[in-house]
Amino acid sequence: MSITPLVHIDHFRMDFGKKNVIRDLSFEIRKGETFGLLGSNGSGKTTTIRALLGIYQPTQGTLHINGREFKPDSGMKLGYLPEERGLYKKESVIDVMVYFGRLKGLDRVTAHTWSLDYLQRVGLGEKDKTSIDKLSSGQQQKVQLGVTIMNNPDLLILDEPTKGFDPVNRRLLMDLIEEQKKRGATVLMVTHQMEEVERLCDRIILLKDGVSRAYGTVKEVQDEFGNLVITIEHVGELPQSHLYSIIEQGGGESKVEVVAEASPTQILQEIMRAGVSVGKFTPTPKSLDDIFVEIYGSETSKD
């Protein structure tokens, strides 16, 4: 992976009338990395992508891909799976795929052959002549993903790629994304699935109220927010302490979050001093799920 930025967003601000959606956002995506754009509903993720792709005009700031504003006919090989899914519903699967392949610069034969191979791979080999509206929503999403990646894009932007997929197809999709990553594509992913982020993303940014709340590698973000979490099996009640706060408790097992600057050893000593018998004591970094809940907990419950 190169540290040369492929995407560069600098002091991006976006207003819709009087409503401010993005206040001041700056970040970079490096060539070859998989980058996660995270945030609760309405935090401005899709707006950021649309502005990056020239669909929206930013109120302020610059959004560059490869050093310039994105234009569809600039020659940049882009694959974009938007949040708002859809294809020409009355047309056949193969016609739609070939049409997009042609628009992306493939010749008819290559687009046709690639499409048939892809459909075979994702279990839609018999559906090439079926019209899109006769497919289930999951099958339609597979077709749309195929359209997105058929030109071997340099930059792959996926807005909630696994939305609406069952676990089997989600795994298939993750494999396809990993393949693109291995091929050298830069991937920008918008998702709520922290499992996907932990599996795929090199770096992430968390948006809240139109600004970045955390930005860096997954580990850096965990370190920034993540005091250690210790899972303790115990007999007896854990004492109140200024060294930790209890997150979960019950059934002889508790999860405590370590307060900054306290060490696991200090906590273990304090618990044992209180006469609590400890069976298992496992310190782990705080998960992204926990960090997400910590940052957005109150507002996502409102959505």
Binding site: Y56, P72, Y80, G86, Y88, E91, F100
Partner: protein
């Protein structure tokens, strides 16, 4: 890449439209209807001619009284009619069933009507009595004229030719009106048949939620221009499909269909009129297409776009409300307004061009206006598609469109 994608859009749009049964049903429905109507007219016409002829030649017993002195007894004798001295006697014979009919020729048939009495045979069959009564009088009078010319003139068989001059040259008259009016017919057919398709051409991307994929794959100008070109090609296809049965019918079945024998060699193709007509047609087509495409991009669904679409179509017909003024008083204020108001300009302009009342300088203004406005509207359509069609389920306000 740009040109390449324009071609891709055109071929995709053409193929997907031509694959639809609805498209061909729409195309064939109209010529089929025309063929059915013409056939019915032809059948009815020949039937009514036959009926009239039968009525004139029908044989029935009759009596008559001739006060005018114009009826030729020899002609009546061939029809086996007999004269009776009075009206009352004739009516009494009809009432008693002795004869089928009785005709009373008054002293002055040009002023007073011939009185016809007959046995009731039904509304249509009863017509034979008056047909025969009139035929007897007409033939009797013609037999008294020795000159065939005088005889023809009394039948009203008179022809005349008119030559008018414009700028010292013979003007084409009706013969130049027909070719230039063809543009108007083409304009109406294209807009009426393809209008809905123009409206829904961008709604398709919107309703199918495919806008974002498209906007990041192809320049929206290419997409819109590609769609407009494909609509134009579809219009040409429709014209050809319409023309084939009409031409075939005219060339091979003209006499069967009782169509007039038009001498095409007399048609005048005035180069200026034809050029002006073609330019107004193209400009008008571009303006209406651009407007409908823009409307589709601004509205969330075809249903929402319906009322404005209806108003635009109505604007095409409004000039016909002042048709007589357009033909006779081209300088009337209302005709001038319709000539320059963009959405009534194509029809008014083509009508005035056909009638030969659109001076070249006015034609130049109309054509320039149509082309400039079409370019503006097409740019607006692209802008609306680019910034508006992403609002999948919301109408855009004008403020939002121009501030985007």
């Amino acid at each position: 890449m740009r040109k390449h994608n324009l071609g891709n859009v055109i071929s995709f749009e053409l193929v997907r439209t031509m694959k639809k049964k609805r498209f061909w049903l729409g195309i064939f429905a109209m010529p089929l209807l025309i063929v059915i109507v013409i056939t019915l007219i032809s059948v009815s016409d020949s039937h009514s001619k036959k009926t009239t002829s039968n009525q004139k030649n029908s044989h029935f017993s009759f009596e008559y009284t001739d006060v005018s002195g114009m009826v030729n007894p020899a002609i009546v004798a061939t029809l086996k009619g007999t004269q009776v001295p009075s009206e009352n006697a004739g009516i009494a014979d009809v009432k008693s069933g002795k004869v089928d009919a009785y005709f009373y020729y008054p002293e002055h048939p040009s002023k007073d009507a011939i009185k016809v009495f007959g046995k009731e045979k039904g509304v249509f069959e009863n017509g034979k009595y008056s047909s025969v009564a009139q035929m007897i009088l007409q033939t009797s009078v013609e037999s008294k004229i020795s000159s065939p010319d005088v005889s023809a003139i009394t039948r009203g068989a008179i022809k005349s030719t008119t030559v008018t001059f414009r700028d010292g040259k013979a003007a084409g008259g009706v013969n130049s009106l027909i070719p230039s009016m063809l543009y108007l017919v083409i304009f109406y057919l294209i807009i009426l048949l393809l209008g809905n398709q123009m409206l829904t051409s961008t709604l398709d991307e919107k309703e199918n939620r495919v806008t974002e994929m498209i906007l990041t794959t192809i320049n929206p100008t290419n997409l819109i221009v590609g769609k407009v070109i494909s609509l134009f090609v579809l219009g040409v296809v429709q014209m050809l499909v319409f023309a084939i049965p009409i031409i075939t019918g005219y060339v091979f079945f003209r006499s069967d269909l009782n169509l007039p024998n038009i001498d095409f060699s007399h048609l005048v193709f005035d180069p200026q009129q034809m050029t002006v007509g073609a330019l107004i047609l193209i400009g008008g087509f571009a303006l209406f297409t651009g407007t409908l495409v823009a409307l589709g991009a601004a509205m969330p669904t075809a249903k929402d776009a319906g009322p404005i679409f209806g108003s635009l179509i109505a604007l095409m017909f409004i000039p016909f409300y002042v048709f007589s003024l357009i033909a006779s008083s081209p300088n009337a204020p209302i005709v001038q307004i319709f000539t320059y108001f963009p959405y009534s300009a194509p029809v008014t302009g083509m009508l005035r061009n056909g009638f030969g009342t659109l001076p070249l300088w006015q034609a130049a203004i109309v054509i320039t206006e149509l082309f400039v406005l079409s370019a503006i509207v097409l740019r607006l359509a692209v802008r609306l598609f680019r910034y508006g069609s992403i609002e999948y389920s919301r109408k855009l306000s004008l403020r939002e469109i121009f501030s985007a």
